[in-house]
């Protein structure tokens, strides 16, 4: 589908048209940071946000979600719960779009996850391109997620007085019609978009001193590296890196019984492989008792195992893990140190 243009001044009218009959979530300010939250007016939207605390995955895969309601007693019953309502996610950045692609792959794999997929199906993704990295924690260029060609319904690129609009799906095209503030991009607009891209390519720099396609091999060679022990010494195992990660998808399942002890709800809650409890099995055995083995597990998931399984890195380089790490464990540093290790 050919790209469109919307004038800067018309964006408000377009978003307001969306707001009139849809639930729209967008980045808004929270203290010094940003979160994706439902908005009621265009002015609430922080178009210039760098990165949200949690990624918009929370709209397809909520932090806490009821998946089953049950009755206990003489006649036990249970009913699976799948709740999904339409939502427009406005302003999602390329890294988070790339992360959504990975989550889609994971959750549609057999057995498919209806709770995720139903919500995902009802979500419209309107992307917002980034002209420069969020901050010193971003390594999206290394992970190849600073540009996305697909995975969005619309993608807006800020060209100053106008936005360049790429259409990624039939749904995206339909929304445009609804807005009716768009015109076809001219060759002049395409040139402006090209100039934006050239500038963008210089703004985003690689930070890992090798191509990330070598990550699986480097990790493979680093399984027994002392780097894991060294960083584990300061790791809290607080799980923050997992909880803020846009590609982490592990959850725990708990049953909450009502005060009557006759009924209850089964909930799934985001979990973290950094917690000792994560690998605890019946009988109390914990498979990854050492912090270092839990840390290593996370990096292997991101840099090796998911790539081998889904054909894409399990990390989009958004840097949320590192930004939220109180003890400054830094992915780029870890990957760099691993490569500097003598091969055993």
């Amino acid at each position: 589908m050919l790209p469109k243009i919307i004038e800067r001044d018309d964006l408000r009218a377009f978003v307001e048209a969306l707001l009139a009959d849809n639930v729209v979530v967008a980045p808004i300010r929270k203290g010094e940071k940003y979160v994706f939250s439902e908005v009621e007016t265009f002015d609430e939207i922080a178009l210039d946000y760098n990165i949200s605390l949690l990624s918009p995955k929370k709209f397809f895969y909520p932090q806490i979600e009821t998946v089953l309601k049950f009755k206990i007693g003489d006649r036990p019953e249970s009913q699976a719960i799948t709740e999904a309502s339409p939502v427009i996610i406005f302003g999602i950045h390329p890294c988070d779009i790339a992360a959504t692609w990975l989550l889609d792959e994971v959750f549609k794999e057999d057995p498919a996850d209806p709770n995720y997929l139903e919500k995902r199906k009802k979500a419209v993704l309107i992307g917002l391109n980034c002209a420069q990295p969020c901050d010193e924690f971003s390594f999206c260029r290394d992970m190849g997620s600073y540009n996305v060609e697909e995975g969005f319904d619309l993608m807006l690129t800020d060209l100053g007085e106008k936005y360049f609009v790429e259409i990624g799906s039939k749904l995206g095209e339909e929304i445009l019609v609804e807005g009716a503030h768009f015109r076809d991009a001219t060759s002049g607009d395409l040139k402006d978009r090209q100039a934006y891209q050239e500038k963008k390519e210089t703004n985003f720099v690689k930070r890992i001193p090798y191509d990330t396609k070598f990550l699986p091999e480097i990790l493979e060679e680093s399984y027994d590296s002392l780097v894991w022990d060294a960083i584990a010494k300061r790791c809290f195992s607080c799980g923050s890196c997992n909880i803020v990660c846009p590609t982490c998808y592990c959850f725990n399942v708990t049953d909450e019984v009502a005060a009557s002890a006759a009924e209850g709800e089964r909930k799934r809650v985001w979990d973290s492989c950094q917690l000792a409890e994560f690998t605890e099995v019946a009988g109390g055995e914990v498979f990854r008792e050492e912090r270092s083995s839990r840390l290593r597990h996370r990096f292997f998931r991101k840099g090796k195992w998911l790539l081998e399984r889904y054909g894409k890195l399990g990390c989009v380089g958004c840097g949320r893990c590192d930004r939220n790490c109180l003890v400054k464990i830094n992915s780029v540093e870890v990957y760099t140190q691993l490569a500097g290790e003598p091969v055993q």
Partner: protein, 246 residues
């Protein structure tokens, strides 16, 4: 027959018992499951002296407390340490870092030597505890989880990971990012990070997790300008009995 439930209180503000009474929407359902036989804060009658479940609130701080809780233990099948004072000693343990006689003089003035006291202990330092409901005050959801679990014969789930997990789930701005310090990285979760969610810092009221990275926390607090004394004060607010406060 419904399990017999009793409530007992030692050194505490008795606010955790109040949290039980605050379960207004669930109280009638709970009374369908259990029979409350001794609950001074809620009723005059004492209907039994043997209990299936005893909620023991408060720290143990006198010789008579010791005798009393030992006696309760003998008459109880499942003893639940109820609230921070009972589970970890809580703020009552602050006195353990001062000479006991100084504390007595300060509190009781000229009659200080007539009033007995011992260094503050958590309930499990005196008797076996079967189950813990942490927090200052306890979380209503956890009370329900424990009561229904006991009724159904399940083991209640007590988190043993840091508050950071729940704080991130709540999408809070990190307390450290606001220029404050926080005990969340080493404190047991289960409170839904209620204090950071409402703009405060974590004070450690649910106790220290079983595998804390204490050195990392102390380094972190020192990096934010706290002296050794300041750091110990942070820990000793609620966690005076823990290794971290030594």
């Amino acid at each position: 027959m419904k399990p017999k439930v009793a409530f007992f209180s030692f050194t505490s503000c008795e606010g955790c018992q109040l949290m039980f009474l605050n379960l207004e929407d669930e109280l009638l359902d709970l009374l369908g499951l259990v029979e409350i036989v001794n609950f001074r804060e809620a009723m005059k009658e004492v209907l039994a002296d043997e209990y299936d479940i005893a909620f023991v609130e408060g720290s143990i701080t006198t010789h008579s407390d010791i005798e009393e809780v030992e006696d309760i233990r003998k008459r109880t099948k499942i003893l639940i340490a109820f609230g921070a004072c009972a589970t970890i000693g809580g703020i009552n343990a602050i006195k353990n870092f001062q000479p006991l006689d100084d504390v007595r003089k300060y509190v009781y003035d000229r009659d200080w030597d007539k009033i007995d006291t011992v260094p503050t202990m958590s309930v499990d330092q005196v008797v076996d505890v079967d189950c813990y409901i942490h927090g200052c005050p306890v979380d209503k959801k956890e009370i329900l989880d424990v009561v229904t679990s006991v009724i159904l014969g399940k083991t209640p789930r007590v988190p043993d990971y840091p508050v950071c997990v729940e704080c991130k789930l709540a999408e809070n701005v990190c307390v450290f990012d606001k220029g404050l310090v926080c005990l969340g990285p080493v404190t047991r979760a289960g409170c839904s990070a209620i204090c950071p969610t409402f703009g405060n810092k974590c004070l450690g009221c649910r106790g220290i997790i079983s595998d804390p990275n204490v050195n990392a926390e102390k380094d972190l607090l020192a990096e934010r300008g706290l002296s050794i004394d300041d750091i110990l004060k942070e820990f000793r607010m609620f966690d005076g009995l823990s290794e971290v406060s030594k």
